[in-house]
């Protein structure tokens, strides 16, 4: 019987909802083990000692969350980062593109429809959103926004039976049934402006699909549903920076382009989920 902790920090609880997608299987895992702390499910108020497996959703954006993650690490044998926010910073990490003070002014004092003149002063916010590995050692990540239920079940059952879970070594394109011909369109397209061929690779058709730069294992539900991969599972195994991998993957398309390339149209799209841990964010931090 393993002692399990499940907590959500700066995130949206979606990973825990995704885990609920396991339904009876999740109840079985919980009943067979000992859930000791899970604020969304149980009324336990203190984080207990001697945690075997801590599952953490969400990133870190204030000192309160920083204290909690450090406390959990100290008390846990294994820490799992569940989902993109915990693992790479996630979508909230895109706010790191700008200075925290400027942001506060923008949102609270210079926003149409909001009363002017007051900026909250009590915040103990950190200047940026961080993945939890910024503060503590993380043993495993379960990537994705949301993480796949099959990954959650696999990682938990492996760990609970004393086995090392392995990461997926494929890319989203390996899961995608769309056909690749190695031929590219001569213009970049936006998903609402034309109706893509349902059977051909979206990137080859000129749509900004992150599949080649994103860890596989999800079954490519987004391209199969007619929309592009957003890159929510982060970079492929052994790749450090997702955006650079994507630029590399786009070479074929970019060399065919007839239109002028307007970088404003691609703001943050290379790093929707991984900006907080990207090489460029590190450069921006140093410059600041």
């Amino acid at each position: 019987m393993a002692r399990i902790l499940l907590i959500g920090l700066a995130g949206d609880s979606g990973c825990q909802v995704a885990a609920l997608g396991l339904h009876e299987a999740l109840v079985d895992i919980l009943v067979a083990n000992e859930p000791i702390y899970a604020p969304t499910l149980l009324d336990v108020k203190e984080i207990p000692d001697d945690i075997d497996v801590a599952i953490v959703e969400g990133g870190i954006r204030n000192t309160h969350e920083e204290e909690i993650i450090k406390d959990i690490r100290e008390k846990s044998k294994i820490v799992i980062a569940l989902g993109a926010c915990a693992a790479f910073g996630g979508i909230p990490g895109l706010a790191n593109l700008r200075d925290g003070k400027e942001l506060m002014n923008e949102i609270y004092n210079n926003h149409r429809g909001t009363d002017k003149g007051t900026i909250p002063t009590h915040l103990e916010s950190l200047p940026e959103q961080h993945p939890i590995k910024h503060f503590v050692k993380v043993d495993y990540i379960i990537p994705g926004c949301p993480p796949e239920v099959t990954d959650i079940a696999y990682t938990l059952t492996s760990l609970l039976s004393g086995q090392e879970p392995e990461y997926n070594s494929t890319q989203v394109c390996d899961d995608c049934p769309r056909e690749r011909l190695g031929e590219y369109e001569t213009s970049l397209k936006r998903i609402h402006e034309e109706i893509p061929d349902p059977d051909r690779c979206l990137l080859e058709q000129g749509y900004f699909c992150m599949g080649p730069a994103t860890m596989g294992g999800c079954g490519a539900p987004c391209p199969q549903s007619g929309n592009t991969c957003e890159g929510c599972r982060g970079s492929c195994l052994d790749v450090d920076d997702q955006g650079m991998a994507m630029i590399d993957a786009m070479t074929g398309l970019l060399t065919q382009l007839k239109d002028e390339f307007d970088p404003n149209l691609y703001s943050a799209m290379l790093y929707r989920f991984t900006y907080a841990e990207s090489v460029v964010s590190e450069l921006a931090r140093r410059k600041r």
Partner: protein
């Protein structure tokens, strides 16, 4: 002598929050309801992005009502561009939205709220214990929740974050075979829902104290309504605000929301607090299931309507009782299922015409939708390249925040002695937590961090800045 009691973290709510109670000589001195989830600045991070990214980015505000954000965003963009998607696309979106209601309401009811009502011992008020004591009920709840997910997946491409709504329509068709499977399973789910609903209704009907154990605060209510009769609709319509006596104060379409709703900022609190503009900052508004059943005339589905009637016997309009929230969710859960069935049985749902291509251009647009927790507004200003220049999102929990605070304050005043006494503290604190839970607050939805303070001045409760 001052006692400080903290309920930290609040449990069985979505996200993280706490309550801090200060008691001096057995009298309530101060109470703070705090959301400890950090602000995530979504409105900022949207600026400069392609507008078609909004439906996919904003759904990350909330892992439970992601469908609502996805659809609110696409509706606002289509409003800005004057685009009307094909009929099948609108029906697919309504189907997805109803699926979102079924998952969200069943999740809240079975996992968060009902463990408080089902007579479980204090140390095990949770779903696992509920399932142990009432296995059939627990299984029914899981099945209902799973079905809602299936509907969302069939229309949205996956669960917890969907991908299919783009300006001009939907990217994914519902095929006939999948539709037929969903219809068949859906019939069974509707039967399970009745069993589940009777279980919850029995609790309230047998013990009316469950309904009235808390003192309640008078407020305005707001919800979406459709047509001249103010019919219940969770997808589209006008915002309607009523006062505590039920009198209509305003009815307006999304493009006019600025005339009626403003957002206040306080120095020591960082969630914005929306209020009914003509009444100033004291014009607080409740939203969510309680508000919808107060504001809309009636639910247009027969089974849900029966349960709505039963609900209205216990919580007649205009109901200001907080406990009404938990029961109001039940007819709404069934309404969600009946809407699913109605849409699935309409052959237009399997139509092939689901999208029209749309050119990017400049514009400004706003939308309303009912999220499970209450009315949600998205508003975008788009430049001629189709990039977002301004975004404003008013999430339902921000309306309810000051009300949760006021309700907690009024109740803590009565229980102050019990909270101070270690022998009775646990039970008194549990009653406070139940108030928060009834609202089903979505702390991550409130986008910015909250920290309210309440003082009492001449018997009138006022929300004020912390000094």
């Amino acid at each position: 002598m001052t006692d400080i009691v903290e309920i930290d973290p609040l449990t069985r709510i979505e996200g993280m929050g706490k309550i801090k109670v200060e008691i001096k000589d057995n009298q309530l001195h101060d109470l703070k309801f705090q959301i400890t989830v950090a602000p995530r600045f979504f409105e900022y991070l949207l600026t400069g992005k392609r507008v078609e990214e909004a439906p996919r980015l904003t759904q990350r505000i909330c892992g439970i009502c992601y469908v609502s954000h996805h659809l609110a965003a696409v509706k606002a963009i289509e409003d800005a561009w004057g685009v009307t998607p094909p009929e099948t696309a609108v029906k697919l979106r309504r189907l997805m939205n109803a699926g979102g209601f079924v998952t969200s309401h069943s999740l809240h009811s079975a996992f968060l709220a009902v463990p408080d009502l089902a007579g479980l011992p204090a140390e095990s008020r949770n779903f696992i214990a509920l399932m142990d004591k009432y296995p059939e009920l627990g299984k029914a709840a899981l099945k209902i929740h799973a079905y809602g997910n299936k509907v969302v997946e069939a229309t949205g491409g996956r669960i917890v974050q969907v991908v299919t709504s783009v300006p001009g329509g939907q990217t994914l068709r519902l095929k006939e075979q999948r539709r037929d499977e969903l219809v068949e399973e859906g019939r069974e789910v509707l039967e399970l829902m009745k069993v589940y609903a009777d279980f919850v209704f029995d609790i309230y009907e047998k013990d009316t104290l469950t309904c009235s154990q808390f003192p309640d605060v008078e407020t305005n209510f707001m919800a979406l309504v459709q047509g001249p009769q103010c019919d219940y609709d969770v997808y589209d319509g006008d915002g309607r605000i009523i006062g505590p006596s039920g009198k209509e104060l305003a009815r307006f379409n999304p493009s006019r929301y600025y005339d009626y709703i403003r957002e206040a900022v306080w120095e020591h609190s960082s969630t914005k607090v929306p209020y009914y503009k003509p009444e100033g900052v004291s014009g607080v508004i409740r939203v969510g299931p309680l508000a919808r059943l107060n504001v809309a005339k009636q639910i247009p589905f027969p089974v849900a309507r029966e349960y709505e009637e039963r609900y209205l016997k216990l919580f007649p309009r205009t109901c200001i009782q907080v406990q009404g929230f938990n029961l109001a969710r039940i007819p709404e859960l069934i309404a969600g299922q009946e809407e699913i069935m109605a849409k699935l049985e309409d052959d237009a749902i399997i139509g092939e015409d689901i999208r029209i291509p749309v050119k990017s251009r400049g514009g400004e647009g706003a939308s309303f939708i009912e999220a499970p927790r209450g009315i949600l507004t998205h508003h975008y200003v788009i430049d001629e390249k189709g990039l977002i220049r301004y975004a404003n999102i008013i999430a339902p929990t921000t309306y309810n925040h000051p009300l949760i605070q006021q309700d907690l304050y009024e109740n803590a005043k009565i229980y102050a002695g019990e909270i101070a006494d270690p022998a009775t503290r646990a039970d008194a604190c549990w009653r406070l937590e139940k108030i928060v839970r009834a609202y089903d607050p979505c702390t991550s939805c409130s986008v910015h961090m909250a920290d309210f303070d309440i003082t009492v001045d001449g018997g009138v409760v006022e929300v004020k800045e912390v000094d």
